[in-house]
């Protein structure tokens, strides 16, 4: 089944947990929770605004994790934290800081995965160990420019899935699915058996369906957060995410035909 991971900026509104539940009810397979950072290097205008709005509300990592802990009984799907290196590495282990403590705090709040876009595989050793020790999947990202040897290492060391950054750009909505998306997803699938989720710039159910024809699923971020910033309700977002779910399910139904076709034609790709 094609995976649908919608993204939600933690604390974007006082009732942000209601959006999370709406995503779950609409058929999300997991939700990526953004832990807002003041200087999000890889985020475009929409996620920047979402982060700023949350930070202006006084949201912290601690408050987001407390909200998730309080909502634990209502959450049935995996949660994946997405944030930047400074929040992960902050502080010394002797004072309750560092990635070891950070990962334990995530696990205690029911989070099972972590994505840190400014920690590439070369800088990931300590975080890798800390995450594994806490039972957290450290998801690594691959980009269209990633050369083959790095891609193999990313495939080998990523946990949970591999995040395919579909386009050479920041997060944000795009009119068209990037041409770089499908070739990248195919290259990643050659080096790993992990699922490959395609993210960055996937803005419509049609784009999600197109991406899912090569990848194993999609991450939807800015397209949803723009709606929340514009004042859309959890019910509105439930409908939005459900439309993505429907589009992905339709791809699933196409697949046996495609596989049959591949077998007939001898195309093993």
């Amino acid at each position: 089944m094609k995976r649908l991971n919608p993204y939600l900026t933690g604390g974007i509104t006082p009732d942000w947990i209601d959006y999370l539940i709406a995503f779950q009810e609409a058929g999300a397979d997991a939700v990526e929770i953004g832990l807002p950072f003041s200087d999000p290097m890889l985020d475009g205008a929409t996620i920047q605004q979402a982060s700023d709005q949350a930070l202006r509300r006084g949201v912290t990592v601690a408050s987001i994790l407390a909200d998730l802990t309080a909502a634990r009984d209502r959450i049935r799907i995996p949660l994946i934290a997405m944030t930047y290196a400074n929040l992960v590495f902050r502080g010394a282990p002797a004072h309750g800081g560092g990635p070891e403590a950070f990962c334990r705090r995530l696990a205690d709040a029911g989070v099972s995965g972590l994505i840190v876009p400014d920690v590439p595989v070369d800088e990931a050793d300590r975080l890798d160990e800390a995450a594994a020790a806490a039972g957290i999947d450290l998801v690594l990202l691959a980009a269209p420019v990633t050369p083959a040897d790095r891609l193999a290492e990313i495939g080998r060391r990523s946990r949970g899935f591999v995040y395919a950054v579909s386009v050479m750009d920041t997060t944000g909505e795009r009119a068209l699915l990037a041409e770089t998306a499908a070739p990248l997803a195919r290259r990643i699938k050659e080096v790993t058996d992990l699922p490959v989720l395609i993210g960055f710039g996937i803005s419509t159910p049609a784009q999600a369906a197109a991406a899912a024809r090569t990848g194993d699923g999609v991450v939807i971020g800015a397209a949803l957060m723009r709606r929340v910033l514009d004042g859309a309700s959890p019910d509105d977002l439930r409908a939005e995410v459900a439309a993505f779910r429907t589009a992905l399910d339709q791809v699933d139904q196409e697949m046996p035909v495609a596989r049959a076709h591949a077998e007939i034609s001898g195309d093993r790709r």
């Binding site: 200087d39 601690a62 929040l87 400014d118 990202l141 980009a143 790095r150 050479m168």
Partner: protein, 394 residues
């Protein structure tokens, strides 16, 4: 004085960083995967160019024929007499475009050309690095895009006009504190989207590996020239520190001497003094941040020092005790601009005046005893600050 005897660190400091781009525990390459190959390619190109005599020859010609190097070493005779110290000024304000920033940019533009890049992307605070980048782009026939905080655009209008006259596109940055920190974020985002044809022409000794090393090596010319110009090793070498490029270049020329190395920060943007270990803009260093790890907005009258981080090598030099860092206030800086102007006939930049302000305060105290010889890098000239000064200095 230093905790570490300078003799103990000769040859081991201000050399090449580790294979992962570290100076002690600081530095590294904390960038999105999309930028890792570009950083690796830049590192390879720099190693190649730096080993190539033809590259050094071209750079040397540009420095002498275009940038006006070597810059003068001016004994500040009147201030020296007033303060009871021998004050020598390394005159980067006399370099083309009015600051040391041209040293770095000419080297990076040559490197970009060698890599087949046609577009320079830069961040700027006070506009000096932006002007230098626009200048090099004009000279090399490249496109230049400069990201500048909206607040800095308002207070450094002259430099915005200079950049535009030189043919650069200046893009106002409206996010966050609307200063250098946010301009740097935006420049890095732009680089992700244009990495094939664009070189990120970073202006200071921060950023992901190899930038802190690359920029320090390109600024080393300040320290090496000064070392050849001084009659004897000075007791103290002092420079202002925002990101820290003019200080790094100056210190590199004296790190293997007994001279004390002093960096002077803005009190409102003092990462060496008030920062905690953190990761921002692709490198690990000391960073002004709150208890939750959110980066704080610096606050200085000098746009070029209005930055919450500091180059990782400074964090290392400070941690090991080889260099010392001090802070001065905006008020002391304004007094220093006026005092230098009236005593020596030199109007320096607000950034550079931080180093002057420390000398004015410390002279005759145990921090800078009477009779000391001080080499001070005057990193830039003050024309760009006239609007600010007109409102503040009477």
């Amino acid at each position: 004085m230093n905790a570490t005897a300078p003799g103990a660190v000769i040859g081991s400091v201000m050399g090449e960083p580790s294979a992962t781009g570290r100076f002690g525990q600081f530095g590294g390459r904390y960038v999105p995967e999309s930028l890792v190959p570009a950083c690796a390619a830049l590192e390879a190109a720099f190693r190649d160019a730096w080993a190539d005599p033809a590259f050094h020859e071209r750079l040397a010609r540009l420095r002498s024929e275009f940038a006006g190097r070597p810059t003068a070493l001016t004994p500040a005779l009147n201030l020296s007499a007033q303060l009871g110290v021998t004050l020598l000024l390394k005159r980067e304000d006399l370099a083309h475009t009015g600051s040391h920033k041209i040293n770095n940019v000419l080297g990076q533009a040559l490197l970009a050309q060698r890599m087949g890049k046609t577009h320079l992307i830069a961040e700027t605070g006070a506009g000096q690095h932006g002007v230098a980048t626009a200048t090099a782009a004009a000279l090399f026939g490249m496109r230049a895009t400069v990201y500048m905080g909206e607040r800095d655009i308002a207070r450094q209008q002259l430099n915005v006009f200079r950049m535009e006259l030189l043919g650069a596109e200046v893009i106002p940055v409206t996010s966050g504190s609307r200063t250098l920190k946010d301009a740097t974020n935006e420049a890095m985002r732009a680089w992700v989207a244009a990495v094939d044809e664009a070189h990120f022409c970073l202006g200071s000794v921060g950023g992901p590996h190899p930038y802190p090393w690359l920029v320090r090596e390109l600024q080393r010319v300040i320290g090496e020239e000064a070392r050849a110009q001084v009659p004897a090793t000075p007791d103290v070498v002092v420079a202002c520190v925002g990101g820290g490029s003019n200080a790094a270049g100056t210190f590199a020329g004296f790190v293997d001497t007994p001279a004390r190395l002093i960096g002077v920060e803005a009190a409102g943007g003092a990462a060496m003094t008030d920062g905690r270990p953190g990761v921002v803009h692709g490198y690990r260093s000391l960073v002004l941040q709150d208890d939750d790890g959110q980066v704080l907005e610096a606050e200085s009258i000098a746009a070029g020092l209005d930055y919450p981080g500091v180059g990782p090598e400074h964090a290392h030099l400070g941690t090991t005790g080889r260099a010392e860092y001090r802070t001065v206030t905006d008020g002391e800086v304004l007094d220093a601009v006026r005092r230098l102007a009236r005593s020596e006939g030199i109007i320096c930049a607000l950034e550079s005046a931080h180093a002057v302000a420390w000398v004015l305060r410390a002279a005759g105290t145990p921090d800078l005893p009477t009779g000391s010889t001080v080499l001070l890098t005057l990193s830039g000239r003050g024309d760009k600050d006239m609007a600010t000064l007109a409102g503040e200095v009477r």
